[in-house]
Symmetry: C2
Subunit: 331 residues, 2 copies
Amino acid sequence: MIELRRDPISSRWVIINDNRDFEYGGNDNISILDQKLCPFCPGKENLTPPALLAYDKKGNKVSDKSWNIRVIPNNKPILAIEGSISRRAEGLYDKMNGVGAHEIIIETASHTRDINSFGAIEFAQDIVVAQERINDLKNDSRFEYISLFKNHGQDAGETISHPHFQLVALPIIPKNIKDEMFTAQKYYEFKERCLICDIIEQEISSGARIVTESDSFLAFVPFASRYPFETWILPKEHTGDFRTIHDKKKIEEMSEVCISVFRRLFKVLDKPSYNLVLKSLPLKQDYLQYYHWHVEIVPKITRFTGFELGTGMYINPTIPEESAKFLREAE
Amino acid sequence: MIELRRDPISSRWVIINDNRDFEYGGNDNISILDQKLCPFCPGKENLTPPALLAYDKKGNKVSDKSWNIRVIPNNKPILAIEGSISRRAEGLYDKMNGVGAHEIIIETASHTRDINSFGAIEFAQDIVVAQERINDLKNDSRFEYISLFKNHGQDAGETISHPHFQLVALPIIPKNIKDEMFTAQKYYEFKERCLICDIIEQEISSGARIVTESDSFLAFVPFASRYPFETWILPKEHTGDFRTIHDKKKIEEMSEVCISVFRRLFKVLDKPSYNLVLKSLPLKQDYLQYYHWHVEIVPKITRFTGFELGTGMYINPTIPEESAKFLREAE
C-alpha cells in the first residue's frame, strides 16, 4: 500500500508505505551497506534502475557507464510514479493515492568522499543536475512541491553511505511549507518587502551569526536555530525559486560557500551526522515576490524527544552566536 | 543563557539554553546512568532539589522519605522558574526571557520497572499527581501551556532510565498547539460538533484501528499515524481538559487502558524506545467545546530524516490497520 493520509487535527499529510521494509529512515538494527555491496558504486549499475541522467567528470552527458554523477529512480520509492491523483474521503478522513517521484542523485562515483572534500566545480555539477531534474519533474502537472534533501550518517537516517541527494516530488504542498508561504506573504503585505531579504539585511549588519559569505551568498546560524550549529545558506539578492540561478559562475560561487560550511562543520564537530534540505517555492503557485529560497543544514547531535513531539518546539543547548563564532573561526 | 526565540519564517518558538551540557535529549556519547548513580532512586534525594510532592504506596502524602512517587524541580531546567515575562524585539526578531517550569514526576521508587509492569491503581496515582501539579502550575499567571511527556529509551531521548514523566510549563502557546486549536474550532463552527468526538465515533464504528477500549476510554492507531504502532488514548465522552477527570474510578479505568496499551506494545516490539505526550487545552483560553484531550504514544523505531525536516511530513512504513491488528491480538 502506498497512500497519502491527512491527520484531521494537525492537517499534516503522512505517507503510508509498507513496501519499504523499514528501509527508509531505518531502525535500530539498520546496517549501512559496506562498500563491496554498495548499489551506488560504479560497476553496480545493474543493482539499480537505469539512470535518468548521467554525467562524467567534465560535465558531459554519458550513458550509464563512466559516470561521475548519476540520477536514478529510487527502486523502493516512498511514492509511486504511476497513477493519477485521486482525492477521496474515508468518513471524515482525507486520503489520496500515493503518487509522486522519488529519485536519487548519486553525487560522485567515489563511495567514501563527501561534500566537505569536494571542489567547487565538482559540487556545482551536482547543483546543476538537481536543477535539471527539478525542471523536468516540474513539467508533471500532478506535482505541487519538490523536496531536495540529503541524509548523512546514521543519526540523520542514512541507509546507504555512498554520497547522494534525494529528490521527492509530492502531489500536495506540505503544511509546514504552506505555513511558511503564508507568513512570508503576510509580511510582504505589511512591509512591502521580502521577509528573508530583511533577515539577510539584519544578519549582515549584525554579523554575530555569520559563518561565511561571498559576494552573492550568505551562510549564517539562524537567530532561532533548532539545532546546535544549524546553518542556512541563501542568495543575498531576492530570488524566490532555486531553479532561477542559471549563471555558471553563481552556481560555482554557491558551491564554494556550501563546501566552506561543510569543512567548518566537519572541523568543529566529530564526523557529524547531518541533514541538508532545500526550501524553495511550491511548483504551481506564485510566491516569487514573497519567498526566498535557501538551504538548511542541521547537524544531528541532539535527539527528538517527547517535548518536541508534544509542542513542535525545539530545545537548542547552544547559543547561536557562539555556534557561529566557532564555525567562523574554524577555517 | 535561557531565552525563547521565535523563528520569523516558521513562527516556531525555540528554547535556547546552554546550561544543559547537551544533557537534554543527549548526544551520541550519552551514557544513561546506571542504577548505582541514579539520582531518582530512594536514598539519593540529596542529589536532587527537595520534593515538591511525595506520596507513599497507599497514596498518603509523605515527607521526602519513604516515598513511592516523588515530584521535583529539574535541577537543570529547560526554562527558569524565576523572572517575569518580557517580550522584546531584536530588529525584526522576537524573543522573550526563558521563564517557565520544568518538573520531574518520578513514577515509582523502583529503578527498573516501567508502565507495562504497573498495576492500574499504581499508575492511577501517577495520573492524580500529574493533575495536582498541573493544577498548581495553572495558578501561575505567567504560564500559557503545560506539556506533560515521557521519554523512554535512548532513541526517545531518555537520559536517566529511572521511570519518570516531565512537566514543562511554557509562557507561550506552541504553534503546533495553536494550529490544532484553530482547526478544531473551525470544524466546530462548521459542524457544531467536536472534531475528536467525530473521530472517536468513526473509529468505534469502523473498528479497524482499535487497539483496546473500556466503557469510557478508547485506544486506537490513528488513521494518519506518523510512526509505526503509534497509539492514542482518549476519553469517549467529550472532555476538553485533562484535569477535569476527577473521578477515582475513571482515572483507574484510564490507567487500565494505558497499561494494556503498553503491555501490547512491549509484546509486539522488542523493548521499544517510546515517547508519550499529553495533549490538552492551553491554560488561559477557552477551547473546552472544541478540543478533546488525549494521550499520544509513539514507539521510536523510525528515524527523523531530511524529508521530515524539509516538509514536516512523515513516512510510516506500516499500515495503521495492520499495526492495530497486531496490538489488538497481542493480549
